[in-house]
Amino acid sequence: MSSAPLISVKNLSKHFRTFKRREGILGGLVNLFHRDYQTLKAVENVNFEIAQGEMVGYIGPNGAGKSTTIKMLTGILVPTSGEIFSNGFVPFRQRADYVKTIGVVFGQRTQLWWDIAVIESFKLLRRIYDVSQRDFDARMELFDQVLALRDFLHTPVRKLSLGQRMRCDLAAALLHNPPILFLDEPTIGLDVVAKDHIRQFLKVINAQYKTTILLTTHDLDDIEELCRRIMIIDRGTLLFDGPLAGLKERLLRTKQIKFILRDGEQAPRLAAFEKSLAAYPANGALRLERLDELTCRIIFDRKLISSADLIRQILAAVEVRDFLIEDEPIEEIIKRIYAGEDPGGGIPVPAAQP
């Protein structure tokens, strides 16, 4: 990807002016005549670039500024300051031309017409985006293969389940085969099967059409399955931008070993082992928990203790039927970043271009 980025965002900020409501009757009366405004910095000085064909996960806690960013990238909101170039357009200034080249899905809303059959909405979108009947048929065929739309194409949108509606919305966003796809929480509220449908579909689209995808989500499985790169935003500021693997490597603190004892007779040996662990040199680097009569879990600091060592010790102490070694879940890492831990790696601030 040596060519120019498909999306470039520079010093992007969006401030909302809201007014503080006073409480009570008297406060309400005062509100009628005088309002105290305050500025909410929804997005503050954000910079990033996305190359063609990338799938980027954009995460952050509620109210962090994810949706506001997406809404600026899609031309819905006008930035307070900063620049956006996307597919050669300035989104809010060339809205009508620009939106022809993007697809947008907001998980919480639908772009389909509520009271009419899904297929009618698709026909309308075909007209809006001026898609030829042949392309339309070919794409519907592909969408149907992955998303299985056929069964409810003739149902009004209001009667669809959330999962069915999301599948339709995705198809609708991609009917004109846009080079860029923005997804704002595409898997929110969906069951496992529906989530899987959506993820598979995004993979197919990305592979087949080189579609560039930016998605926000609260479900980190989405990210782990789809995105190599993540951006983390909180309180309007970008905290991290880089490969997910790097983030994990840097911030992964603990691992856990789960083991199941062969039988109940291991109990005294386990107690002895537990005592020996207490004397373990690295203080607080290790913790043993009993999950039930036979199952135990040891959570340990992966930088201080090697899992191989630990396993050897366990095997020497007790008779074990089964083992499971796991990394700290990515949720834990993200939680720590939200709580204030420095994700490190730094955010590559793009050099000011002439």
Binding site: K71, T74, L77, F89
Partner: protein, 282 residues
């Protein structure tokens, strides 16, 4: 490179495709109104009830003496009211209410991500609904009214043609006004009171309830400087032959001038309002 072809696709679409798009919106409007059967039947009933009410009111007004009031004889005023409601079933639309609803639900964002003029989109949809009403509501309502009430025929074939032209103007005038009211929902969020105020203002100043001749002189003068009387009063006067064809053409020209002005104003107002959209949440 794929990007290049994608960029090519973003070039201006030809007029034919544009018309096809808005034609499709009109079709959606048509189909949409079909979705609710009950709404359709109650619509017919509502219009019949309204005409009946005004029929008896005017009968009562003229019961003491049959002398014309403000230039209207009883058969004329009854025709005015009946044709007025038939006309209303055609020009009526709820763009403002639907837009207000969309703003509150945040769906206005979904309009902005489509490569269309939002104003033209709303007008096309309303046109589809009006076409629906013309065929399936206005026509049957007209037949029933014709059978039940002593409605006069149009003054002449030319007058009827001009009346039709004026009715189309009424639709666009109403659409342009409703769109502007709808846009107010973007900065104001709740515009229920505004919609209600507009409703009564237009019921009154369009001349639908009472011909404007019945109004005091200063109010008539004020009204002639406003667009509202061209919604009902203008086409209805043409229907009754109260204006000569030449006079009719002149007021229709004025009516369409208002349409253009209000559509332009609505477009600017929309542009201004969308620059300040605030959609919170995330």
């Amino acid at each position: 490179m794929t990007t290049a072809t994608h960029l090519l696709a973003a070039q201006k679409t030809p007029l034919r495709a544009t018309l096809a798009t808005y034609g499709e919106f009109a079709r959606i409007g048509f189909v949409n109104i079909l979705a609710f059967r009950l709404r359709y039947y109650t619509g017919i009933l509502t219009y019949l009830i309204n005409v009946t009410v005004y029929y008896f009111i005017w009968r009562a007004v003229f019961s003491q003496s049959a002398a014309p009031i403000a230039g209207f004889a009883l058969p004329q005023i009854l025709t005015y009211v009946s044709v007025g409601w038939i006309l209303r079933s055609f020009y009526w639309n709820t763009i403002d209410q639907e837009m207000a609803h969309e703003v509150i639900e945040g769906k206005i964002a979904m309009d902005l991500i489509k490569p269309v003029s939002v104003q033209a989109m709303w007008l096309s949809r309303a046109m589809g609904e009006s076409a629906f009403r013309l065929i399936l509501l206005t026509a049957p309502v007209a037949v029933v009214i014709w059978l039940l009430f002593p409605v006069l025929a149009p003054a002449s074939a030319v007058h009827f043609l001009l009346f039709f032209l004026g009715a189309v103007g009424s639709f666009f005038l109403m659409g342009a006004i409703n769109f502007m009211i709808g846009v107010c929902a973007i900065p104001l969020k709740s515009i229920l009171a505004l919609i209600r105020a507009k409703f009564w203002l237009i019921e009154l100043l369009s001349g639908l309830l009472i011909p404007l001749q019945f109004f005091p002189r200063p109010l008539q003068l004020l009204s002639s400087a406003l667009p509202f009387e061209h919604i009902a009063y203008t086409p209805l006067r043409i229907y009754l032959g109260l204006l000569t064809p030449a006079q009719s053409l002149r007021v229709i020209a004025l009516q369409y001038a208002w349409v253009v002005a209000l559509l332009g104003l609505g477009h600017l107002w929309w542009r201004r309002a969308t620059r300040k959209i605030t959609i919170h949440g995330g």
